[in-house]
């Protein structure tokens, strides 16, 4: 028995001065309930995530105090996957019939910053300027380009694609297409990554209503099923964020492990997937994650991207709502934004961004500090 997604809601990502993360979470839940055609009083349990809200379960104050259990989960950028997995498992285990998952965040402008000690790092690491996430992405894609022959032009093509799709998406944050030349002319932040190749932290919320499959017919929307939602942390030897040292030999990272586990659980392979959302913290991440999730061999991205295979009309449509590059990243909401987009693609309601060919299988991937990845597979 698989949990059915029967409603999705998105508080568009962006900047909302004077509006709290909890308020945006409440709005996202209301939108998801309206989509599902049910009431908050029908919901028996919720899973909530936020980095910035001190108690994510306080979201009930924005929607109604019905006494339901609300469990809080936070896994950094992979939070959305953990929320989805927990909500789906509560249904699969027969614990509840109708469950909501909600992620919401509200980050200040600029690179993520925090107390190194609270993240298990010594003070000197932050004092010396090493406690940042962005330089990792520069180092990872630089090594990848060296090993597998990926060009700077391909980085620019990926950023241009996601910004171009963002221009088509009324709910995106960045809605201005930029040419590859403009992207390559923007300042380097962490070589080889430039300003317009990075996503930015922002604000927003997303919510999902899940139900027992036997009850799915009672809701307003056709069900989409959660076939798998797998999360993995790093092993010794994986090249991950915030590693003060690494062994000399590499092993696969959490993305490869979560991806393989998700495909195994769903009983399908990458060739069966029709629409894909990948963690594009930066253009290089999207390129690397294509291979790490099994959608191509290392190095093939150079020709796949040039041929337009990752465009909405291509063979491997990736980040069909503009991804993180166009939507920004409110950490705990980001993964459920991917689910929102996949649900609309699988229902055939994605409008001018609809993937052609009546897609039936969607894939969502998240990755973030300190080396955790989540992969989810949804299908009609």
């Amino acid at each position: 028995m698989k949990a059915a997604i029967v409603g999705v809601g998105l508080h568009p990502f962006g900047r909302y001065d004077g509006k709290s993360a909890l308020q945006m979470g409440g709005d996202a839940i209301r939108l998801a309930l309206a989509d599902a055609g049910c009431q908050w009083s029908d919901v028996q349990a919720a899973y909530a995530g936020s980095f910035e809200a001190t108690n994510a379960d306080a979201v009930v104050s924005q929607i109604g105090l019905t006494g339901l259990p609300v469990r809080v989960i936070f896994n950094g950028c992979a939070t959305g996957n953990a929320l989805l997995a927990s909500a789906a498992e509560a249904i699969e285990h027969g614990e509840h019939d109708v469950v909501v998952a909600v992620g919401m965040d509200k980050h200040p402008r600029g690179a993520f910053s925090a107390d190194p000690e609270a993240s298990g790092h010594p003070d000197w690491y932050g004092e010396a300027g090493l406690f940042l996430t962005t330089h990792y992405f520069g180092m990872k894609i630089n090594r990848y380009m060296h090993e597998f022959g990926i060009s700077h032009q391909t980085l620019a093509r990926v950023a241009a694609k996601n910004l171009r799709i963002g221009e088509m998406n009324p709910k995106a944050w960045r809605r201005k297409a930029l040419s590859e030349e403009e992207i390559l002319a923007s300042p380097i932040l962490n070589y080889p990554l430039r300003q317009y190749m990075f996503c930015g932290p922002d604000e927003g919320a997303a919510a999902v209503v899940l139900a027992r499959p036997q009850l799915a017919h009672k809701f307003a929307q056709p069900p989409v099923y959660v076939r798998a939602a797998e999360l993995r942390t790093r092993r010794v030897g994986a090249f991950e964020l915030m590693c003060t040292s690494l062994p000399l030999d590499r092993v696969d990272g959490p993305t490869q492990e979560a991806s393989r586990a998700a495909f195994e659980k769903a009983g399908i392979g990458p060739e069966d997937v029709n629409v894909i959302q990948l963690q594009d913290t930066d253009a290089g991440s999207e390129i690397i994650h294509m291979a790490e999730n099994g959608f191509c061999a290392d190095g093939d991205q150079e020709k796949l991207v040039a041929a337009g295979d990752t465009e909405i009309g291509g063979r491997l449509p990736i980040n069909t709502d503009g991804g993180l590059i166009a939507n920004g990243e409110p950490m705990a909401a980001s993964g459920l934004r991917q689910v929102y987009e996949l649900i609309h693609q699988l229902r055939g309601t994605a409008g001018n961004r609809q993937v052609p060919g009546n897609p039936t299988v969607g894939y969502a991937h998240l990755y973030g500090a300190p080396g955790a990845a989540g992969c989810a597979i949804l299908s009609r």
Partner: protein, 139 residues
């Protein structure tokens, strides 16, 4: 540099004419890590020995830090100069994440030989240089 203090105790031998980074080797499985650790992330044993890491290695990957990291936690001077960052593979030991003395990507190359340096990160209230470790290309 003689009247300077290290950014943290036990990170590298200092003051020293021949500074070394100080890491740990697991007595059970041999895993080498930097900085020193109280348990092994590979086999979870708690018996580890301090070791001095080699002063030379090869550049495994690199990037540049073109914008000033947020403060706190960064303590560098307000007048920010971009710096390089990378992983240097030290033969037979481990790869270390490190600042690089070179911030121009045109002058950095994966696979090139690198050497340990101790560099200032800021000046403290008493006017002394606070120093940290970095690696420099070997000419």
């Amino acid at each position: 540099m003689t009247d300077s203090r290290a950014i943290a105790e036990g990170l590298f031998t200092w003051p020293s004419e021949e500074p070394h980074l100080i890491g740990s080797r697991c007595d059970a499985c041999g895993l080498v890590v930097f900085p020193t650790a109280e348990f092994c992330v590979k086999c979870s044993q708690q018996q580890l020995s301090d070791i001095e890491l080699g002063q030379r290695g090869t550049l495994w990957t690199f990037t540049t830090q073109q914008f000033r990291p947020p403060s706190p936690p960064y303590v560098g001077d307000e007048s920010f100069e971009p710096f390089g960052l990378g992983y240097v593979a030290i033969d037979g030991q481990c790869m270390v994440e490190t600042r690089l003395t070179e911030a121009n990507p045109e002058k950095l190359r994966i696979g090139q030989e690198m050497e340990l340096r101790i560099v200032p990160v800021r000046t403290d209230d008493a006017g002394r240089a606070v120093v940290t470790f970095a690696f420099a290309p070997v000419d």
